[in-house]
Amino acid sequence: MTTWTRADAETWLYREARLLDERRYDEWFGLWDRDGVYWIPANEDDYDPATHVSLLYKDWVGLRDRVERLGSGVAYAQSPPSRLRRLVSNVEVEAVADAPGLTALRSNFLLVELRRHVQDVFAGTALHTLRLEDGRARIVRKVVRLLDNDEPIDNLTFLL
């Protein structure tokens, strides 16, 4: 088992950010572990998603479906698509207790989105849990805590 340095984490997070900015969703989906869970909480940063709605709460199958939908040509809220640029910073790395092989990353992001002449800003914290295996990192869990998760949002149909 190896532990990541902050530089390792940044390299990986920048790569993920680029795939998302460029809407290379098939490649991004390839980063996911088969047991992965992707969660964007609503209203609060943490709760039991079994008893509370979320902005997005998907397993690997659900995420595969979402990526397929975004590429279907009939996801009208992304037609025309959003142009996206995100800055990732404040990266922290920690080992996951009692889970050898798992590494947790915490980072902040600032995302600027432009669509149909309107520019929007999103900000938040991303919590990644990665499985490091055979020199590759797979996403086991990604939680995106949006600053405005209890505010009305107009369009969040691109992926964070």
């Binding site: 079994a50 008893t51 199958v61 479906d65 979402r66 009939v74 009208y76 809220a77």
Partner: protein
């Protein structure tokens, strides 16, 4: 945010009768700021408006804030369990009393000069009262109360006018029956809106949402991808793979601006073929999530046979075997209640007009009291998959409403058409008007009631 004055506004009196014809409306009813102002007065400041569900106010002191039309209010629950709707405005200098959306507080104290009010609206104390002289009557400074508040099956409505039809008359037997179907999927006859809120907004007129909520014509186009997931599940449920959508849903106008997409015949035809009758079998939003591949149990739990049996038994005990079966297969409703409430599948949707071209929506999942946890989790999954800013349903609808707002700026040929199916709609035995699933009778119901309210022939 506001639209430039049009010839409608500058003429002084808005010629409503010229704007709404049978099967068509002038598109300026969606873009004209002076019409929006009058809608706020006549629809939202006089009529019955949905504000909250009693499960959001579970204890003495619970409160929820809202804006009715343009009026900020606090809905409260007092010591005796009674609900009140009071102005969210200090009676002294007009400062917003309560800046948060929900919580528990038996009193509200203004931050400006510390005037303190009971949650019933009563002024408890003005600070340094001697400054107001010996004749100061603090009862003159109670918070303004909504003249009328009424509750149907847990749904709290207010009217800011002392006059007009009762809530009972406004809903009518047909809309009340649909609310009953929604609530009676719970074996205790109670739903709980305790699972958070999806909040979103769009650049467009509020009527776009309420018309769309009961429009089935668009589903196979705007929601093509979603329907491609729902259809195979429906067809697979028949066991034969054949297309049993030959039994179609219908459009039903319930009167007073209430309308629905009626899935009951379709669902009963599936139930007869398959013997299945659980709400999770018929909820379209859950169907769209039944994708191939092994699922993560935290995200998509399975309803165990024990859970299914326990729920069915609880329903049968509560309603009798025959009615329980009918309620489960009816599977709630898909109804729009004029002007701002929709009950669709497991969702409760509240629409708030902010400006002529800006609308906010709140969607909550209705959890069935007395139902297994996995059933409610599946309902939550279905609600969040279809509704909300990151959803696969609403988000594409909002794109349509925003494009409508842009297209309707062209007023040289102003008509918007809603005539589909006029020639083939029929009056049913219960007085409702029923039409083909792709017809526009539901929009005609909303717009004809809108016209009656805007011209003063209905409240």
């Amino acid at each position: 945010m506001t639209t430039a004055p049009t010839e409608l506004a500058s003429s002084g009196v808005i010629p409503y009768d010229d704007l709404v014809g049978r099967g068509r409306v002038d598109g300026r009813i969606y873009t004209d700021a002076s019409i929006f102002d009058e809608e706020m007065e006549r629809i939202f400041h006089r009529g019955w408006v949905y504000v909250a569900h009693e499960s959001e106010l579970p204890e003495a002191g619970s409160f929820v804030t809202d804006v009715v039309g343009r009026q900020p209010i606090i809905v409260t629950r007092d010591e005796d369990g009674e609900f009140h709707a009071v102005a969210n405005r200090c009676s002294h200098r007009g400062t917003l009393l309560c800046p948060v959306e929900r919580g528990v507080a038996k009193t509200f104290t203004c931050i400006y000069h510390a005037w303190k009010f009971r949650n019933t609206g009563e002024l408890l104390a003005a600070t340094f009262p001697d400054g107001y002289g010996p004749d100061f009557d603090k009862s003159n400074f109670d918070l303004a109360r909504a003249p009328r508040l009424a509750v149907y099956r847990g749904f709290i409505f207010v009217s800011l006018s002392p006059d007009g039809v009762s809530l009972d008359e406004h809903l009518g037997e047909n809309a009340k029956h649909q609310i009953d179907l929604f609530v009676d999927l719970s074996p205790t006859g109670k739903v709980e809106l305790a699972g958070g809120v999806l909040r979103y907004w769009y650049r467009g007129n509020w009527k776009a949402t309420i018309e769309n909520g009961v429009d089935a014509y668009h589903a196979q186009f705007v929601h093509r991808y979603w329907m491609s997931k729902v259809r195979p599940v429906r067809q697979g449920a028949s066991g034969s793979g054949e297309d049993h959508e030959v039994v179609l849903p219908s459009i039903r106008a319930l009167g007073r601006g209430h309308a629905m997409i009626d899935f009951r015949d379709l669902r009963h035809s599936i139930a007869r073929r398959t013997g299945r009758s659980l709400p999770t079998d018929f909820d379209q939003e859950i169907m769209a999530l039944r994708l191939e591949g092994e699922r993560h149990p935290d995200v998509m739990p399975e309803l165990s046979p024990e859970d299914a049996r326990a729920y069915t038994e609880a329903m049968e005990q509560a309603y009798g075997k025959e009615r329980a079966h009918r309620l489960m297969v009816d599977n709630g409703t898909h109804v729009g209640i004029f002007p701002n409430l929709a009950l669709i599948g497991a969702s409760v949707r509240k629409t708030r007009p902010v400006a002529v071209d800006r609308t906010e929506i709140q969607v909550q999942a209705a959890m069935l009291d007395g139902a297994p946890k996995a059933m409610n989790t599946l309902r939550i999954r279905g609600v969040e998959d279809f509704w909300g800013p990151a959803s696969q349903g609403h988000a594409d609808d909002a794109e349509v409403w925003e494009r409508a707002n842009l297209g309707l700026q062209h007023t040289a040929s102003p008509w918007v058409d809603f005539s589909r199916g006029v020639y083939r709609e029929q009056i049913d035995r219960d007085g409702t008007v029923v039409g083909h699933v792709t017809d526009e009778g539901s929009q005609r119901e909303i717009l004809s009631h809108w016209l009656r309210v805007m011209t003063g022939s209905a409240t």
